[in-house]
């Protein structure tokens, strides 16, 4: 029941964008709308993934943690759509230009970095990978915090003048990384030393 709700909620932006595209409700520049909305929804869902363990602890509701995989995969879906639309609309399918864009434009470098991290987590999100990677799996998946940080930098570097929203997102990421560090046993030991 909750699982179904999680999937419906995560699919909703994609459904709205798809119908918007079909019925041309995406404004004057639908290409830009698609790039922007898929990007921000990818980021939103990464934040939800980071929030789930905090909420689980606060409400003493450990089952919440298990939805991280579903939400995380949806975040990867939106990030992939975002990257795909960037390649179609902004690069005009000119994939030959991609290495140049990646190396010369830092905001693209950071965004692509975030996507790579999400990709690595997405392909190891199955039971098989959990079983075989064992400890490495945990280490790999803690990288979701790195993905969030890269996404925050990606967003800030894109701003032309108004830093309001971009810095709000960055602040949330900073807070979530901070709470995670405080929860970790390593920090605890280090503090006790």
């Amino acid at each position: 029941m909750i699982r179904a709700l999680v999937h419906i909620a995560c699919a909703l932006p994609a459904i709205l964008l798809f119908t918007g595209w079909q019925y041309s409700y995406l404004g004057v520049d639908p290409e830009k709308t698609l790039i922007w909305e898929t990007g921000i929804w990818g980021f939103n869902l990464i934040l939800v993934v980071l929030l789930l363990p905090v909420a689980a602890k606060w409400a003493n509701w450990p089952e919440l943690r298990q939805y991280r995989r579903a939400v995380g995969l949806w975040a990867f879906f939106y990030a992939t759509a975002h990257f795909f639309f960037f390649v179609i609309f902004l690069l005009g399918w000119n994939i030959g230009n991609l290495p140049k864009e990646l190396s010369e434009r830092p905001y693209i470098t950071f965004g692509f970095g975030a996507w790579c991290v999400l990709f690595a987590m997405a392909i190891t999100s199955n039971h098989y990978a959990v079983k075989h990677l064992k400890r490495a799996w945990k280490k790999l998946h803690i990288l979701v915090y790195v993905a969030a940080t890269l996404a925050a930098i990606h967003y800030i570097l894109m701003v032309r003048s108004d830093y309001g929203w971009a810095s709000t997102y960055a602040l949330i990421v900073l807070l979530l990384c901070g709470t995670r560090l405080l929860r970790s046993k390593k920090t605890y030991r280090w503090l006790k030393r």
Binding site: Y25, G27, V28
Partner: protein
């Protein structure tokens, strides 16, 4: 989940009281909170959708309007490129960069409803023999509907473009009336500062300092292509497009064409320009369209031509936005000096 029954510990009290289980309470709070945030998002989405569908119905009306007009007949200028496809009025008036009203492309159309457009006066000062302040109607020098119409390519620095019919008169006619002195090498334009009507001017995290300022060399300002603009698509009531009075410079990136101009100053030294000051690495002072000089964050070699009817065409960008034949002589030597 829910309530647990518990005897009050106080021995004097034998009444059974209902106490909420603290964990269930927190879970409930979490669900309510999540629902709240989700409904906020949903509400935002609904608003977004409502707005856009309202636009879609408007679109068909505007489509009628523009196709009914015969722009070839309206165009009396030898400088205009005639028989050209133009961008739908709806697109050109609902997809704007006017950060005074907000940084979203739809903000200028949506946030400018309360903008006072009349009376509007423009002050001419600095190095000129006839300084003074004039009403915008006097600057036109003729009834609005008799102004010249020019169809110009508009190229945004963000690598998109539109084809727009502007109503106005050559800027140099107005500048000459002020009789600039021989020592005037530059012309500075100042936009209006009116934070009570322009929400973008009070945005807390804005990197831009208001009012918006721009400048041209006197040769650029006197060039026949430089256009003093009082309307677009035969419509003056469009603050989102910089009315009542703006400058249009088709061979430069759009931001160089100052909007809501209230002051024109003749100067000996190069005046500051807002985007150039905000981020000199990304925006040059001259701001000419040079496809071979990239913006640090994107390529300028192509542009997305927005026609507004759902068609977005990817086309090659041209030096000076295609007006090189008329203006290239103003920029001798290395292009990099005039970026």
């Amino acid at each position: 989940m829910g309530q647990v029954y518990q005897f009050a510990k106080d021995k004097n009290c034998s009444v059974m009281t209902r106490v909420t289980d603290p964990i269930a309470y927190k879970r409930r709070k979490l669900i309510v909170g999540a629902l709240g945030v989700a409904s906020l998002g949903a509400f935002g989405n609904l608003r977004y959708k409502g707005r856009i569908s309202a636009q879609a119905s408007q679109l068909s009306q505007d489509q009628l309007e523009t196709s009914d007009k015969d722009y070839i007949e309206l165009d009396r200028s030898t400088l205009s490129l005639t028989e050209r496809r133009i961008t739908q009025k709806y697109a050109a008036t609902n997809y704007n960069n006017a950060y005074e009203f907000g940084w979203n492309k739809s903000d200028p159309a949506h946030q400018s409803g309360g903008f006072t457009m009349r009376p509007w006066s423009v002050t001419f000062d600095g190095l000129c023999h006839r300084p003074g302040t004039f009403d915008v109607d006097d600057l036109m020098g003729m009834p609005f509907n008799q102004l010249e119409e020019r169809i110009y390519d508009f190229r945004c620095v963000e690598a998109w473009s539109m084809v727009i019919p502007y109503n106005g008169r050559p800027l140099r006619q107005i500048l000459k009336a002020a009789e600039p002195m021989g020592s005037a090498k530059y012309v500075a334009f100042t936009s209006i500062f009116r934070p009570e009507e322009m929400p973008g001017q009070t945005a807390p995290f804005s990197a831009i300092e208001w009012p918006y300022v721009e400048g041209l060399t006197i040769e650029e300002a006197m060039h026949p292509l430089a256009f003093a603009t009082f309307g677009v698509y035969g419509d003056r009531e469009l603050p989102q497009n910089g009315m009542p009075f703006r400058i249009t410079l088709p061979w430069k990136y759009g931001f160089k064409s100052a909007k809501f101009v209230v002051r024109v100053t003749f100067m000996e030294k190069q005046p500051p320009a807002t985007w150039n000051q905000t981020n000199p690495r990304e925006y040059g002072w001259y701001s000419n369209v040079y496809p071979d000089i990239d913006h640090p964050r994107w390529s300028q070699s192509t542009e997305r031509r927005i026609w507004g009817d759902g068609d977005i065409e990817r086309i090659k960008s041209l030096p000076y936005n295609g007006y090189g034949g008329q203006v290239a002589h103003l920029y001798p030597g290395d292009n990099k000096k005039y970026r």
